[in-house]
């Protein structure tokens, strides 16, 4: 499809386990176990999931900070997994990442100026006045004052540090911005500002966003499409409004209900999932969610992996509850 900027197909990442570590018949951590999705240019796509879902690993693979074990990543139609190091270096200008913890993603020994200037120095060989001018423009775009350029990270607030990270990421004029929990280290009152800012930035600079978060409220607020991940697979995907207001998969239902609602009346019908999230070293057979599923059918869930079912509204779900097409 021509307007798919990024097209991820059957992505896999299995981390091998050392011999003798596990007696299990699987000798690896199947962190990402067959993930497919695509993002249209200018869209905001959310990847949501709890610990062990594999969402951060997916982000790292797209940037090839981690090599995939299988699958393809098509950037404007070309598989970047097959790129050489130098081709990849060029491509990396197009996709940048904003990291989760603004306190640790900036070099504490570099001034703001140096951190923001670094990509420009490496990729464009800029220096002197030209470099200074570009950095000043970036500072303005992210709403920081000129005097902040000569401060060190520890002299800035969390929100300001995050903006420095964004300025740095924007310096090479990327087309895709991957945001890994961009607001989870920020206070609530700052979070709203940051998300509104990110939205206006997207419009201004024609950016495409891939948002990764465990915080459904953040994803719901910012993304038009969402994929819910569980133990390395996407179990439900679709328009954000649809997925969150009428979730199909039992896990999505529980996830949506689990969001603590800041209101006096709490929802009556809660779903409490039994037990803990299984380890990615020991993924349950059949449907990987069956060990905690409140709507488990029976043996089919324990033995067979569900196949993806597609709906007319563009959503999809992997669940045996939808194994038969509804007629009429």
């Amino acid at each position: 499809m021509p307007d798919q900027l990024l097209d991820v197909r059957n992505l896999k990442k299995h981390f091998p386990l050392k011999k003798g570590f596990l007696a299990a018949h699987h000798g690896s951590v199947r962190a990402v176990d067959g993930v497919s999705f695509s993002i249209r240019a200018g869209g905001s796509f959310g990847l949501v999931g709890e610990s062990g879902s594999g969402k951060t690993t997916v982000a790292r693979i797209i940037l090839r900070l981690v090599e995939p074990t299988g699958g393809e990543i098509l950037w404007e139609g070309r598989d970047i997994c097959k790129f050489s190091d130098s081709e990849m270096k060029e491509r990396r200008r197009n996709m940048q990442m904003i990291f989760q913890d603004p306190h640790s993603s900036l070099n504490p020994r570099k001034t703001v100026f140096k951190s923001v200037a670094e990509p420009l120095v490496i990729h464009e060989g800029l220096s002197g006045k030209k470099l200074r001018k570009r950095v000043e423009e970036l500072m303005e775009i992210v709403g920081l004052k000129r005097e902040h350029m000569f401060r060190y990270p520890h002299e800035l607030s969390g929100g300001q540090k995050q903006r420095v990270g964004i300025a740095r990421a924007l310096s090479l004029q990327p087309r895709l911005l991957i945001l890994d929990e961009p607001t989870s280290a920020l206070d609530v009152s700052v979070q709203a500002q940051m998300l509104n800012f990110l939205e206006s930035l997207q419009k201004k600079m024609s950016l495409t966003y891939l948002f990764i978060s465990h915080n459904l409220a953040v994803i719901r607020y910012t993304c038009d499409m969402v994929a819910v991940m569980y133990l390395g697979k996407i179990i439900e995907m679709g328009k954000t409004e649809t997925v969150f207001s009428s979730p199909k998969h039992p896990y999505t239902k529980a996830l949506v209900l689990a969001i603590p609602r800041p209101q006096a009346e709490q929802p009556e019908k809660m779903i409490y999932l039994e037990g803990d999230i299984p380890s990615a070293t020991n993924i349950p057979p059949g449907c990987r969610f069956h060990t905690r599923c409140q709507a488990k059918i029976g043996k089919i869930c324990e033995e067979d992996e569900p196949t993806t079912r597609y709906f007319s509204d563009g959503s999809q779900v992997d669940c045996h509850l939808y194994r038969e097409r509804r007629t009429g």
Binding site: V188, S189, Q193, H214, R220, P260
Partner: protein, 332 residues
């Protein structure tokens, strides 16, 4: 209703390299028996300091209790000796912290750690009605029973595990079990679910409610998350820069927030989608407590600040039954 905890005009300062930080600016708090109270605020508001002050866990120096009292069942905590505090901590007031991994010793089994806590309060407890010298066997039995109370499956087997063999949610359950092992009057929980996944968080919050129903202890739940607090607490105190700005029931807070900061916090909460309306933040940043703003500490960020706000700190007044607010807008 029996008053379990009453904090009067507590002021605490911290000596730092850059100067003296006035972290608590005279707070008043009341906790009655069976109350579930949430202490809500963002970074630097002083909520964790308040919790630690109650248990005398603040390092003195650099902290300094300038004035005030913390009355626990009528006795001033601040006047107790360290020996007396040992009988209060863990036994009459217990605390659960944010990150369950750092509060469990990785080298000992869950059994050893639970039994340690159960037996630790055997010597010199002073309350008179304890079974003196509980045997280790009985302590283990009690430990298994406690794990069952916090809904750990197959507790008699799991108790032999080491902390790293437990997930985050299960470790937090162990800590809650430890905290409740001596039937305290107050359970203080400082961001108990912040480090946990959202579905696990829902389980733990349900558990906390369940335990309160069964044991009737009072709870002081500290969190930056109004949603978390709404699930467990019937009363909420909102803190900003070392002050309590609003103190009311949960229903009152959501129905009719009075203080501009509370209103700002509520409007920062993300709506269903951008299409429904933008979430507003609160402009500005948290003040430096070494040189805090004069008068009301929130005035530099307040959209409704008046002249008097810059000069005089507003007193706490009862606007409607049970609903207290510290703001010049409501002074008659």
């Amino acid at each position: 209703m029996e008053l379990v905890l009453k904090i009067n005009d507590l002021r605490i300062e911290f000596d730092t390299f850059e100067g003296t930080s006035q972290v608590l600016d005279g707070i008043d708090l009341t906790l009655e028996r069976g109350d579930t109270m949430g202490l809500v605020g963002e970074t630097g508001c002083g909520k964790s300091i308040t919790a630690k002050a109650i248990l005398r866990l603040l390092p003195i120096p650099p902290a300094r209790i300038v004035s005030g009292e913390i009355l626990f069942q009528g006795e001033d905590i601040l006047k107790k000796s360290e020996e007396e505090m040992k009988r209060v901590r863990g036994k009459r007031i217990a605390m659960v912290f944010q990150d369950p991994m750092t509060f469990l010793n990785p080298l000992f089994t869950i059994e050893e750690q639970l039994v340690d806590v159960i037996l630790a309060h055997q010597r010199g407890n002073g309350s008179g009605n304890e079974k003196r010298g509980m045997s280790r066997k009985d302590a283990v039995k009690k430990a298994v029973q406690l794990l069952g109370e916090v809904k750990i499956p197959q507790p008699e087997l799991r108790i032999k595990s080491y902390p790293h063999e437990f997930s985050g949610g299960m470790r937090q359950r162990v800590l809650i079990a430890m905290a409740l092992s001596r039937s305290p009057q107050i359970l203080i929980a400082d961001e108990p679910t912040t480090a946990l996944d959202v579905t696990i968080q829902a389980q733990i919050l349900w558990l906390m409610n369940d335990l309160v129903q069964r044991y009737g202890h009072s709870v002081l739940l500290i969190s930056h998350d109004l949603g978390v607090v709404a699930k467990v607490c019937k009363r909420i105190a909102v803190m900003y820069a070392g002050n309590i700005v609003e103190d009311c029931s949960t229903a009152q807070l959501f129905r009719r927030p009075l203080h501009p900061y509370t209103q700002g916090l509520l409007s920062s909460i993300l709506t269903f989608s951008k299409r429904e309306g933008e979430a507003q933040g609160i402009k500005g940043i948290i003040p430096d407590l070494i040189r805090p703003p004069p008068g009301c500490r929130f005035h530099p960020r307040c959209l409704r600040a008046m002249e008097v706000c810059k000069e005089k700190k507003p007193a706490m007044i009862e606007f409607e039954q049970g609903h207290w607010v510290s703001c010049h807008l409501y002074h008659r």
